[in-house]
Symmetry: C2
Subunit: 451 residues, 2 copies
Amino acid sequence: MGDRLSTSEGSRLQFSQDESYHPPKTPDAVVRPVSEQEISKIVSLCSRYRTPIIPFGAGTSLEGGILAIHGGVCIEMSAMNQVLRVNGEDQDVTVQAGVTRMQLNSQIRETGLFFPVDPGADATIGGMTSTRASGTNSVRYGTMRENVLNVRVVLANGKVIKTGGRARKSAAGYDLTRLFVGAEGTLGVITEVTLRLHGIPEATTVAICSFPSVRAAVSCSVSTIQYGVPVARIELIDKLQMRACNNYSFLNLPEAPTLFFEFHGSTAGVREQAETVEGIAKGLGGESFKWAEKTEERTHLWQARHDALYAALALKPGAQAWSTDVCVPVSRLAECIEDTRLDIEKSRATATIVGHVGDGNFHVIFLIDPKCPEEQKIARQINHRMISRVIAMEGTCSGEHGIGIGKKDYLDIEFGEALGIMHDLKHTLDPCNLMNPGKVLDSDYYSSQIS
Amino acid sequence: MGDRLSTSEGSRLQFSQDESYHPPKTPDAVVRPVSEQEISKIVSLCSRYRTPIIPFGAGTSLEGGILAIHGGVCIEMSAMNQVLRVNGEDQDVTVQAGVTRMQLNSQIRETGLFFPVDPGADATIGGMTSTRASGTNSVRYGTMRENVLNVRVVLANGKVIKTGGRARKSAAGYDLTRLFVGAEGTLGVITEVTLRLHGIPEATTVAICSFPSVRAAVSCSVSTIQYGVPVARIELIDKLQMRACNNYSFLNLPEAPTLFFEFHGSTAGVREQAETVEGIAKGLGGESFKWAEKTEERTHLWQARHDALYAALALKPGAQAWSTDVCVPVSRLAECIEDTRLDIEKSRATATIVGHVGDGNFHVIFLIDPKCPEEQKIARQINHRMISRVIAMEGTCSGEHGIGIGKKDYLDIEFGEALGIMHDLKHTLDPCNLMNPGKVLDSDYYSSQIS
């Protein structure tokens, strides 16, 4: 590998942490492969010497997904960054796993197509596939689950498989594609991904509306979907976050629970959508409904939404952010957010709430003084109570951030008996527990099963 | 089980065949369970005595999925036909696996919601889940892959698991739901399914247009999608099938490759969609573009499409139909259909072609004299050449009918090395090969691996 293999402390530290609250864990070596064949050789070698393998994309995971908790070799994917093939007519694209979503959209812009899945960070497609990522417009365009057509994967034994083709649908055999989407690198190293693309809409309109309560805002979101409005984005920003956004992004919006909408379609279509939603919003006490059709206005508003994390951080100088993530059936969303907000206030924590409410997905952003372990403890407790609440509501402990090391304990509560099947699958595909070990599933449980 | 267990020849014959061209295979016994608990007991007992288990829904499979090729117990699901819970606000429903799609839609009509996936037959939800079914409006609403939120499954050891919750999206753990969707009963018996529902659109319009060639019709379909028209259905009917439909359904449409469109949306929205498509169609030589807004007209036209199989049969009295199914990237669809049509004509077979062309999915309906083995042989050869062509085009050997026993040989060509992983998964979940054995995967291969 020459200088593409490094065991220097500098390199190892560079790949020892993600963007989460979890403390760094350093790999023993970092390699930067340039081909699938090289990855296959690295994995074969690691397998022979029982060395853990941790694929590393952009390092933007939020639950410790890329920490080298058992040491091993970090496979750093930045050199696997080629967009291999764009098929305009088929609206699909094949990329190497190290391509980032913004790079992809920039390289395909002239085709009139775009790739919609947009987690906040500029993650790699391999990483997004592995965490089953989604984002603000999944309510319209789906998550990685719906947008991945095929992956190429290096398995623990070094063999390479492809899991699908380029047909839009298939009833042929087990759905291996979906097995690797969301597996967080624990079943193999993804080297290539074929993605669905979507046409850039003819027109885009943004609307914003304030509500007297979170419940009214959520009702508006639910009704919008029920009316069949094909909304591209519905984002909730709670009162505290709205104050933060006003300050940080120089907005002058009411400090109240607020919905950001985006509509995609024909020029007439987006107007009709916005009008329908305006009617729904007014009926629920929505105020200051504003449209933004001009690109600059739209960009400014969405930039404010995308900068929510930085805006929140500015509320409490010196604080670190811990963004947690759950998803519930939308009928329980208002109650779930309200109960969580009450819990935050009772616990005297500082935390804002933002949500992709069309999907029932929301995030609590805790602002924690890194010098105060008590604040961390309180956040953990609120998070724990929130996840328990969510699972009791038939929701999930993660809508889009994944399990990593941070949420392993909740899988058992969420899946019960089915967790055993996940362990069985892991054991079948990775009998020596070398592929990103200790992520998603506990290594301890695993060892006890195979001994 | 009392009289809900039968070993009489009559019962066994009744559950010995599906709607495919494959000869019947009789189970040793037929049971009609009324609860998941009963199914668990049946499976445990069968496991103890190494007896194959074949779940049987409506018996409408088209690739021999429910034939008892190794004998065993047929678990006949007709008594598991309760719609358990409709959640209007969440737009989801939980049903027992024996509920049929028409029953479901009839029972939920008053909620203003519908379940879109519509294979031709009135299949059960369990069967549709197991074959990863789709239909005419999957281009808009997705297939079973996108519409199943959760399944409850009795595993080979009798244990019961649930694979998901009711949240719209989740990044928690391996995607077990998608593992069972499309597994054709080979990994467990599905007892309950939670499905996404969709709002009944405010307005529906149907349009029909004839084209000078299959290529022009397919181009129209591709352009429609590229323009971002959220079309609910685009169905291709080839020239011969159009003649059959005219005769059978008393239509008077040109005998030419024809597209049937359906548009869902607001009143203004569907007009706009239809106008956009009319423009596209005219630019490609489309003629006699007709809209049908009235319910009766629409129903008549779609009934004609749904009766395509019977119409085809009427072309050749006494013939049996064999409907095969492939799916390719849409950029290859015209070429694939044209080459297949040429092959049909050269081989002097009688066969029509219909397709869900928005997805790249099409069916060849062979009309075969049951007394003439030569005709069967010719159909098999055309089918074989077509599937080889499709796989070379990065398509799939089945878009929606599944593998059953009819397409097992093609999985190897389509998936290569990945087929080994499917066998490994099967072996992990069903170590004694008792769950619908010999379907999807070859029992022989299987035996050689575990011996």
